[in-house]
Amino acid sequence: MSFYDEISKYNWSEVKDFIYSRKEPDVLNAINKNALSLEDFAALLSPAAEKFLEPMAKESHRITLQRFGKTIKIYIPMYVSNECVNSCVYCGFNVHNKFKRKTLTLDEVKLELDVIKKTGIKHILICSGEHPKKVSVDYLNEVVKLARKDFSSIIIEVQPLDENEYRILYNSGADSLALYQETYNKDTYKEVHLGGKKTDYRYRLEAPERAAAAGLRTIGIGALMGLDDFRVEEFFVGLHARYLMRKFWKTHITVSFPRIRDAEGHFKPTYLINDKNLVQSMLSLRLFLHDVGLVISTREPAELRDKLIYLGVTQMSAGSKTNPGGYAAGEEEGKQFEVEDTRSAEEFIESVRKKGFDPVLKDWDSSFINAV
């Protein structure tokens, strides 16, 4: 049994009706509980909970402080390719978008790594479009081996792979996976993924389980906010996170809240997600699952990111470039999306310090993995 079987037990519109039917007493009851049920979680995601964001924020801050302390784990992305075989209506890498496509050579990867390591950040996120030939497992394996020399934690955000492929990358030094389902609504998923291997909803949904089974230590999941009703999406994100935490009890789960940003193709999101919606999603997740990592990327503007630090976030990216060659070659073209927080890594790290938090640049040691 996989999460696909689990989610198949739920009906999207019934869940939506349930969330929207929650009343203030349901919300208050949920805020005051220690261990929240799925019904409580639904109440926190409901429109009725919008009046209670302040007490939710206080509780989220308290829990986060206790479980994670005054720390923010910092990571930095490195895009190795913007080539992609998929046709996802919201993504700048969509195969039909016309711009200069590029996959870094291993020499170019080395140059990129040299620039990134100067930031002092030891957690690197290796990103790419989904092009199984140009960005093959063999290629990724070489990139991971190169990165391992200078970085203690390697997160991969690439096309979903088979379990044995994840194991290859784990054995080379990758310890974490980030893979977003984009939308948990099967019908919406079909509407926004028009071509390519990514059209396979189930293969993507079950990828975190294959990665965890292969040994990867941290698994990041999330929904792309704006494709469908965020309240229902985040309910299923929470369900997914809880499922993974219970089934893979040695694996740490993180949740991201990426909002659709302007990109090549200029897709307009079906649902507009405002700051309040984003915050409600984060707070609900924290109150439901006290120990999940909550991730906010540079998709969000600096002023908002600075405020979110107090609300339960545990991991943030810094100094991001979202195109291959963005650091060393200063490439500007071929971005996956426009970064909103344009501060340099150093500026952001200093800003975290000034807020009374410890920007954790290293929280992992590659010697945990007996890499070849």
């Binding site: 005054k70 230590r217 040695k250 938090f357 410890d358 290293k362 945990f368």
Partner: protein, 258 residues
């Protein structure tokens, strides 16, 4: 007579308070809190530091002359990983002391007794002074003592919960039976919890979250120092034992004569 002195494997420490270094808002605050605590043993997660680099920001804030740096293996999911980390620390020049943590569950960080035991066996044979973090299991404590660990470190409650000594009945047994120092680790959330552990007979306590996440970590570190010292003085004074029945000031059997 109870001495306000902790001896681990022949090495003497004046303080019975050990400090963890996670969750602080900055290394500067951590440094001040360590100083205020009076602790002489400071545990550092190996995964957090670049152990081979003396300029590492966290290590720079710990005076190695003044404190025993106790590397810990937190993050290790099994014996193999823990052993590898410990060896890494020694190879980098650390003293062969290690706080052994094998916590496969990333949420409550509960220790795996089987993998911890396996790792302890290997490390003791390799000459490490092993201080294993474990559940409050009296039998496991004896097994670890038999293979040569220099302390046992049973938890009072899960890490970071601040719930105090929830394992008190087992802690009493462990303290009663142990021939090596017993350090109550994890769960201590208030100075009164630390004092209680020392009053019970624990040789030392290890505190992190309660200090690191306090409103004023430095003041809280001072408070823990005082609480542990107060409990030490109380033990030195001779703690009155708990009794099931009150001693009547006018004995009921006083009329009996030999």
């Amino acid at each position: 007579m109870f001495k306000n002195e902790l001896i681990i494997d022949g090495r003497k420490f004046k303080s019975r308070l050990m400090i963890g270094t996670g969750k602080f808002q900055s290394n500067e605050v951590m440094k001040q809190a360590i100083e205020a605590s009076g602790a002489e043993i400071v545990t550092v997660a190996l995964r957090r530091v670049d152990i081979e680099n003396p300029e590492d920001d966290l290590l720079r804030h710990i005076d190695m002359e003044k404190y025993l740096l106790l590397p810990n293996t937190s993050g290790a999911r099994d014996a193999t990983e823990a052993v590898r980390l410990a060896r890494l620390a020694r190879a980098a020049g650390c003293e062969p002391w290690v706080k052994l943590e094998v916590t496969p569950d990333p949420y409550y960080l509960l220790p795996d007794p089987i993998e911890t035991f396996k790792a302890a066996e290997i490390l003791v044979k390799e000459g490490f002074k092993v201080l294993p973090y474990i559940n409050a299991d009296p039998i496991l404590c004896k097994r670890l003592e038999e293979i040569g660990t220099v302390t046992v470190m049973p938890l009072g409650a899960p890490i970071g919960t601040n719930k105090g000594l929830k394992t008190v009945e087992n802690l009493k047994i462990i303290i009663e039976q142990s021939n090596i120092p017993v350090v109550v680790d994890a769960g201590i959330g208030a100075p009164s919890h630390a004092a209680y552990a020392i009053e019970l007979g624990a040789d030392a306590v290890l505190v992190n979250t309660a200090i690191a996440t306090a409103g004023d970590p430095v003041k809280m570190a001072t408070s823990f120092k005082l609480a542990v010292e107060a409990a030490c003085v109380a033990r030195d004074a001779g703690m009155p034992t708990e009794k099931q029945y009150a001693d009547a000031s006018s004995p009921l059997t006083g009329f009996l004569r030999d």
